[in-house]
Assembly symmetry: C2
Homo-oligomer: 136 residues x 2
């Protein structure tokens, strides 16, 4: 919209690259909104979904510590804690004591959590595919 004047005025970088970056950010934020709307229609959020996914996708284990989830997802500890608490409360996760470390817990999907994940995934990918198909 208003890129041209400024980039040429400031003489930093080239106009096309900046325009491409801005349009990428706009596209991404549109898709994020679609996904947020989709998740919230199932009483979830992107982060809640990602938490369920990383536990479900973990090879060899069926549970993860909060700190392990933290290593896999790019989110701060307090936000993860708050969100895990909410997932426990809504019954999608269960929490067991970690036998090897009394500070830690192991978080696992409940049957309800697995059902939710299975129910939500098709629409998730459909939302993404549909959006990408519409892009010019």
């Amino acid at each position: 919209m208003m890129i041209d004047g400024y980039v040429s005025q400031t003489g930093v970088g080239d106009v096309d690259t900046v325009a491409r970056a801005l349009s990428m950010m706009r596209e991404a934020s549109q898709l994020e909104r679609l996904l947020d709307a989709y998740f919230s229609s199932h009483n979830l959020s992107q982060l809640k979904f990602h938490i369920l996914i990383v536990i479900d996708r973990e090879p060899d284990k069926d549970s993860l510590r909060q700190s392990e989830i933290n290593q896999r997802l790019d989110v701060s500890k307090p936000v993860l804690h708050r969100t895990v608490t909410s997932l426990l409360k809504s019954g999608l996760l269960v929490c067991r004591d970690d036998p090897e470390d009394s500070r830690a817990h192991r978080l696992a999907l409940t049957d309800e959590g697995k059902t939710m994940l299975a129910a939500i995934l098709p629409g998730y990918f459909k939302t993404i595919s549909g959006f990408m198909r519409e892009q010019p």
Copy 2:
């Protein structure tokens, strides 16, 4: 990371498209973070910057109503109000009564606001160009 299994399991859309969308969102969020860090090092935010820009870029006028800014930027009224209030308080904007509508105000850049914008733009575009150059 974990796309393959799921997309093929669910049979919705194609894997490459979904992977492309996810990587676009990741890229965009990285760039957003860089920009947020840049703005906050100048005591600004992306939204504050955009507000200054749309007022500065407006042809034929040197001020805008809040509602006009709202039409140009994709942000809710209360958030815009809160952010404009903060820009007024920090002296980058001034507020005058609108002679044609006693409900409205006209928001204009102060000299300090213009100076800030001029000071910040080169780094803004440099940040974007630099990021795009690094992308694989």
